[in-house]
């Protein structure tokens, strides 16, 4: 065991009081589950689930040049992001390897201060902060602050999330479109609400001050008590995002997996832009990547997990599973794999699960789409 001191989120006490099983995750002690991963998963698909995502990094950029600074770092254009907008993008190295996948929001405070908020993965926060720092010299009017430890972040996700929670805000968050954000009041304190998430369901994420976190969490749970809201841990968060076909850094994305291989062409604005990694990514778009990300349905009940080898029907290795497990919604295993491009159109594969081979059929991503 490592001796690294783990951080606790402002909601730690709530999790322990609710009987959560706590595990170390990216330097934080986080709830993996409260009761059952499967029932938390179903609560999110049928009512709503609350997730403590305070471990994710929240980095704030104030002042003139903030958009230009972020534009230099991100695969996605930031300079034309209007106030109230949220964008998903990647931060890459010069070779196009992915350093992180991030969300950037352009926000305006009630006193009319505009700033950008970058939400990064917990495991990459230190790396991204170090990556950003040298660029600050070129943007002397930008003030950079790491807001992770002074704030908390809660995701409320599920078909009943918007309807049940709308009366808790000073404005109806349903007025936000998907990938929009605003600063509003909740329990008479300013919070950031964004219509974003990582489950494939409608819902929102809220950033509040750390000292307000418990009150906000309990208030949402109470508001959703009759609707069937439940707290959900990292276990359900992972099965939900897998069904939604969403990448998780360290699995579908890494410094050796570029955004194009990962199927994130949509998050790369190449034209008339310069950003770090741009030329490498433009080359990959032009010439094609060595591997592509695909969805697989392994036959039977046995899940193929991260690291399982993917083979063609003749038994030749053609790739690797990067995420996989049972799908509680579909009732059978699902997997995402990186496979060699020449095999990307094949429909039938095999997966090697700890020495035993199962057949697996190619399927379109996402595995699950919410009913419209």
């Amino acid at each position: 065991m490592s001796q690294v001191q783990l951080s606790s989120t402002p909601l730690d006490r709530c999790h322990r009081d609710a009987g959560a099983r706590m595990v170390p995750f990216a330097g934080w002690e986080m709830p993996i589950q409260y009761d059952s991963i499967v029932s938390e998963h179903h609560a999110c698909r049928t009512a709503a689930a609350l997730f403590d995502v305070s471990h994710m990094g929240r980095l704030r950029f104030d002042g003139e040049g903030s958009a230009e600074l972020l534009d230099r770092l991100m695969t996605r254009r930031v300079t034309d992001l209007a106030v109230g907008g949220v964008r998903y993008g990647l931060i890459c190295n010069r070779d196009g390897g992915t350093l992180d996948d991030v969300l950037v929001s352009h926000l305006k405070t009630p006193s009319d201060t505009r700033y950008h908020l970058l939400v990064v993965n917990a495991a990459n926060r230190e790396k991204i902060v170090d990556w950003i720092k040298p660029h600050l010299e070129d943007f002397p009017r930008v003030t950079f602050s790491d807001r992770t430890e002074v704030t908390a972040m809660i995701a409320v996700q599920g078909p009943l999330a918007m309807e049940t929670c709308k009366r808790l805000f000073s404005f109806d968050p349903a007025r936000l479109k998907y990938y929009q954000a605003a600063i509003t009041d909740h329990l008479s304190k300013p919070v950031i609400v964004s219509r974003t998430g990582y489950t494939g369901e409608d819902g929102f994420e809220i950033v509040c001050r750390a000292e307000e976190a418990t009150r906000v969490w309990e208030n949402f749970l109470l508001a959703g008590r009759d609707a069937g809201f439940r707290p959900a841990g990292l276990g359900a968060r992972d099965t939900l995002r897998m069904e939604a076909g969403m990448p998780l850094y360290g699995h579908e994305l890494s410094e050796s997996i570029d955004p194009i291989s990962a199927g994130l062409r949509f998050a790369c604005n190449i034209k008339d832009r310069q950003f770090i990694g741009r030329d490498a990514i433009a080359d990959l778009i032009q010439s094609g990547t060595r591997q592509v990300r695909i969805g697989l349905l392994p036959e039977g009940k046995r899940p193929a997990r991260d690291g399982a080898e993917v083979l063609d029907l003749d038994g030749n290795p053609v790739g690797t599973v990067v995420s996989g497990g049972p799908s509680p919604t579909l009732g059978h295993p699902i997997a995402m794999a990186m496979v060699d491009r020449e095999h990307a159109d094949a429909q039938a594969f095999q997966v090697d699960i700890r020495g035993k081979r199962s057949k697996a059929t190619r399927t379109k991503l996402p595995f699950y789409k919410r009913p419209q």
Binding site: Q33, S36, I37, V38, K301, P303, R305, P326, P328, K356
Partner: protein, 133 residues
């Protein structure tokens, strides 16, 4: 005839063992404890050995898989697998409901019982669970 969990032997890896005599042979019936099932949570898959397979004490004879992780099943005794509970993988909820009777996994004809000595009685096993839980 319900199995009394307080009379079983337990491995550090949470298997329970019930040793009985059948036709002059010592047979070990093996399952996993309610504590382990609770810890595993949300079982999705179980892999069983073939009848006739021989295992050494401490060998992996199968695996049980939850939503989150795979856990190997270890045989506390050496011998030949003489029976497997083939209905179990399709009825894993039965393992939750009844881990000591319906939940038996394999029966092994004991050829090497040296592993039995390192097993715990119920009180010692409860103590281990309390310390790890």
């Amino acid at each position: 005839m319900a199995r009394d969990k307080s009379k079983l032997l337990y491995a550090e890896t949470h298997e329970w063992v019930d040793v009985s005599e059948e036709g002059g042979q010592k047979i070990a019936t093996i399952g996993i404890s309610d504590f382990a099932i609770e810890q595993l949570n949300d079982l999705v898959y179980m892999d069983l050995p073939e009848v006739g397979k021989t295992v050494d004490a401490g060998d992996e004879f199968g695996e049980v898989e939850s939503v989150k992780a795979v856990s190997p099943l270890y045989s506390p005794v050496g011998g030949e697998v003489v029976e497997v509970h083939s209905d179990l993988p399709d009825n894993l909820e039965g393992l939750n409901d009844d881990p000591y009777d319906f939940g038996w996994i394999v029966k092994i004809k004991i050829e090497d019982e040296s592993g039995l000595e390192s097993l715990m009685d119920f009180a010692a096993y409860q103590k281990q669970c309390a310390e790890s839980g």
